[in-house]
């Protein structure tokens, strides 16, 4: 087969297979980032709170999930979750093995890890808000909730964008590890294609190229978002109408 046929979209080509796997990678990562955003916001709030137990919980979370290999977390969630599910099944009278869906387990595992990094990003972003602006909000009589919604959240999001871009890239690469659960994302698809055709060089290089395309495209998205969010800070729109 020629290169063109190997990578073709129809017939015996692997093109469509790889593109679908790329979409799966993107979907796992996006889901993980969303899960991580919720976890990260909660953990950041815990770390910034006045309560000692909450701060401890936040500290333990970020220490554990940044300090333990990603692969271990994925195994833990997938196999641990599956055996838990099986036990529940047995209790309900079903005797077979119940596996956690690999997409959900993978997204959850990568999301939990991503949450640890996002928590640090949000915490840093909160500290970047000038204290005086928070005082001005208090001085005008804004209740705590309103201050959070109107002053803190918009500025945290703005300051968090560059950090979130980094976390997104980390999660995108972590998602390759989800291949161990059998989910056919880009990593697993490259493996399958290269194994079936014995064209290892070709398919791993194509897989790598697809990862690079994903990361460079998402880099652009984050850069644009950062520019837009910071338009109030840049001097390029002086006087803007």
């Amino acid at each position: 087969m020629t290169l063109f046929e190997l990578l073709g979209l129809g017939g015996k080509g692997w093109g469509a297979f790889l593109l679908l796997a790329t979409a799966t990678t993107l979907a796992v990562t996006a889901t993980a980032l969303a899960i991580g955003a919720v976890a990260g916001a909660a953990i950041a709030a815990a770390k910034l709170s006045g309560s000692v137990p909450l701060r401890l919980i936040g500290h333990v979370y970020t220490t554990v999930f940044r300090g333990v290999p990603e692969l271990l977390i994925i195994y833990l969630i997938y196999f641990g979750g599956s055996s838990g599910l099986t036990a529940v099944g047995r209790w309900l009278g079903y005797d077979g093995f119940l596996g956690l869906p690999s997409f959900a387990a993978g997204a959850l595992a990568v999301g939990i890890i991503s949450g640890a990094y996002q928590a640090e990003v949000f915490r840093g972003a909160f500290h970047a808000i000038p204290r005086g602006e928070l005082e001005a909000a208090m001085a005008i009589g804004m209740p705590r909730r309103l201050r959070f919604r109107r002053i803190i959240v918009p500025q945290v999001l703005r300051f968090a964008i560059p950090g979130l871009g980094n976390v997104w890239q980390l999660s995108l690469k972590d998602s390759a590890l989800v291949s161990v659960t059998g989910l056919v994302e880009l990593m697993r698809a490259s493996q399958i294609a290269s194994g079936s055709t014995r064209q290892y060089f070709l398919f791993y290089i194509v897989g790598g190229a697809l990862y690079l395309i994903l990361t460079s495209l998402s880099d652009r998205v984050f850069n644009t978002a950062e520019r837009r969010a910071n338009r109030s800070m840049s001097a390029s729109t002086i006087g803007g109408a």
Binding site: E135, A139, G141, M142, I151, R231, G240
Partner: protein
């Protein structure tokens, strides 16, 4: 109405750890009073101002705003306000202008000015915008209403911050060294706005180093030293023969104000 007490402070105390910054300050502001609070740095004058709207929690004493006392709980572990809601309400009646302007950097000037009336006072937005534009015209930056704070000079930012406070229709305006962070050539435009406010009858408490403002605009001068009020009185007396030795020495550092 003139003669009504807008702000009353009784025996206000504040300690940071074992360091007592305010050692019992009492002061009244009647409607239309413009009171300049002078003192060397470290005399406690900014802390005094920040205790009035509870940006710092007083350790003791009473604050009354327009006849309403801020309820405090004084326990062994320190002091705290009895009701957050009351504090928020009182704060909405006190305008505060900071040394560092503190405009919200993610909002345009107009958004800064309408933020309080729309979201704190929950008034109709269209009405607030109309008032905000009038206020911005009054402080001379109507043309900057759609600009972000970072694009304005310090003097323009401080005038916008004054407009933001005024939009709340405060009963008393607190100024915490409003011109100290400004380049000398920008001080005048801010002082002119403050003078206009004073002439309209706004009740103002101004912590400042501007001797000319204290002497020519305010109707009372309070001199703080080491956490107490050393002396106070009409500017003619304070800057004239009636000055206390400590105040005389203090203003000596500034030369003779015009």
């Amino acid at each position: 109405m003139p003669g009504e007490t807008r702000l009353s402070v009784r025996n206000l105390r504040k300690s940071f750890g074992t360091h007592e910054v305010l050692k019992g300050i009492s002061m009244d502001a009647q409607d239309g009073d413009v009171i300049s609070v002078l003192g060397a740095s470290g005399s406690g004058k900014s802390t005094f101002l920040r205790c009035i709207n509870l940006l710092e929690t007083p350790s003791g004493g009473e604050v009354w705003v327009d006849g309403e006392q801020i309820r405090m709980l004084h326990g062994r572990s320190g002091s705290r306000p009895a009701s957050r809601a009351q504090v928020d309400h009182i704060r909405s009646e006190l305008g505060m202008v900071f040394q560092g302007f503190n405009l919200w950097s993610h909002m345009t000037i107009l958004q800064n000015v309408i933020e309080g009336p729309v979201h704190v006072l929950k008034r109709p937005k269209a009405e607030c915008i109309a008032e905000a534009e009038e206020l911005l015209a009054k402080v001379g930056i109507a043309d900057k209403r759609h600009a972000y704070p970072a694009h304005l000079s310090g003097g323009q930012q401080q005038r916008a911050a004054i407009a933001r406070s005024l939009a709340m229709k405060p009963k008393v305006m607190l100024f915490d060294e409003p011109t100290s962070a400004l380049d000398p050539e920008l001080v005048g435009e801010v002082l002119r706005v403050m003078r206009a406010l004073a002439e309209e009858g706004m009740t103002m408490l101004v912590v400042t180093h501007e001797m000319s403002f204290a002497r020519n605009v305010s109707n009372r001068v309070v001199f703080m030293r080491d956490g107490i009020i050393d002396s106070s009185g009409a500017p003619e007396d304070m800057f004239g023969a009636g000055a206390s030795p400590a105040f005389r020495q203090f203003i000596g550092h500034f030369g003779n104000p015009q």
